[in-house]
Amino acid sequence: MDGQLKRGILNICILQLLRQQDRYGYDLIKQIQAFFPDTEESTLYTILRRMNTDGLTERYDSPVSHGPQRKYYRLTGQGRERLQEYLADWEQIEAVFSQIGL
């Protein structure tokens, strides 16, 4: 799959998974890799970091009693808005696809 297209789809998947519930990086990456097995963890960590920098997500440390300290990602209001924009774009793409017979 084209890198640019794939990155766009990964963005939508990550935002959607975070809309369902807060998740830590490793968990999120494993979920995505279940759908896209050839996706590198480096790609996903970079997307997560960028989303955080852009204000789409925010991070917080989990209060763990045992096991490793985990950094959880939470979707922000801005992230929700961005997801809606992506989904609107996607609907437009689907409409174009159906019009040209795909």
Binding site: Y24, L48, G67, K71
Partner: protein, 265 residues
């Protein structure tokens, strides 16, 4: 022989390669991510060896991260800003202790061996604080060699500059021991450069040319000290020596500019 675990080795090498393209905060973030990765994979029952085998090599991982972030390999602003701080610190420590070394040589003649030894030791301790281990790839031995190389270069430059900038300390009879110490350090420096280049072929050519030129010029200056004592081909060597000092001084200016720009950024 390294006693680091595969995880520590991986993270250490990753940090080294990241330093070329990412700032310190980003490096810490990425290292945090991969530390989390190791811990969770271990909880899932994998050994550290298996986790490393499933990941790419640290260099390739850093390369992927760099491409994903849309960066060039060599980010001069980032790399030099980090290097500039340490170089400045080493410069001033070297200048101070180099001056002290010359003073000791002037005052106590040939009985200055132990005071000089203490100064070198002090310099290595202070210098080590300025050179964190994660800057260095590979095994613990690599860290030692790398630090030794930088410290030797800093001390040599500092001593030479102390002679030029603090003329009251210099004396024609000064520094037989100082010269011997410097020459020994410089010999070690060349050996360490060869070692570092074997680990760092990508960045090597530039470092080699710069350091070998600087090292040779400093070596020439220390020989100039001997020629002052023996009275032969002084002028030629002196010219090289001043060239060397100018080289190190010239290196100081970009350090200051980078620091200034770094603060603004």
């Amino acid at each position: 022989m390294s006693n680091h675990s595969p995880k520590e080795r991986f993270l250490r090498r990753l940090r080294f390669w990241l330093a070329f393209s990412f700032g310190e905060e980003e490096q810490a973030d990425i290292i945090g991510d991969y530390t989390e990765w190791f811990e969770n994979e271990q909880l899932a029952g994998k050994s550290q060896e298996a986790i490393c085998a499933a990941l790419h090599t640290p260099r390739v991982v850093a390369e992927h991260l760099r491409q994903e972030a849309g960066r060039g390999f060599f980010q001069p602003g980032i790399l030099l800003k980090q290097a500039a701080l340490r170089a400045l610190g080493l410069f001033f420590v070297g200048l101070g202790l180099g001056g002290a070394a010359l003073r000791i040589c002037n005052q106590s003649g040939s009985s200055c061996f132990y005071p000089l030894l203490w100064l070198v030791l002090l310099y290595f301790i202070m210098g080590s604080a300025l050179l964190p281990g994660q800057m260095v790839p590979g095994r613990a031995g690599g860290t030692l060699f790398f630090r030794g190389h930088l410290l030797a270069a800093g001390l040599s430059a500092g001593t030479i500059l102390a002679q030029l900038l603090l003329p009251r300390l210099t004396h024609p009879q000064s520094g037989v021991w100082c010269v011997l110490v410097l020459d020994t350090l410089l010999l070690g420096l060349v050996c360490m450069q060869v070692f570092i280049l074997s680990r760092l072929p990508a960045a090597g050519a530039f470092l080699l040319s710069l350091h070998l030129f600087g090292g040779m010029a400093v070596l020439a200056y220390t020989h100039n000290q001997l020629h002052l004592l023996y009275g032969s081909i002084r002028q030629l060597v002196e010219m090289l020596a001043y060239g060397s000092a100018c080289l190190y001084l010239a290196a100081l200016l970009p350090c200051l500019v980078l620091l200034f720009r770094g603060r603004k950024g």
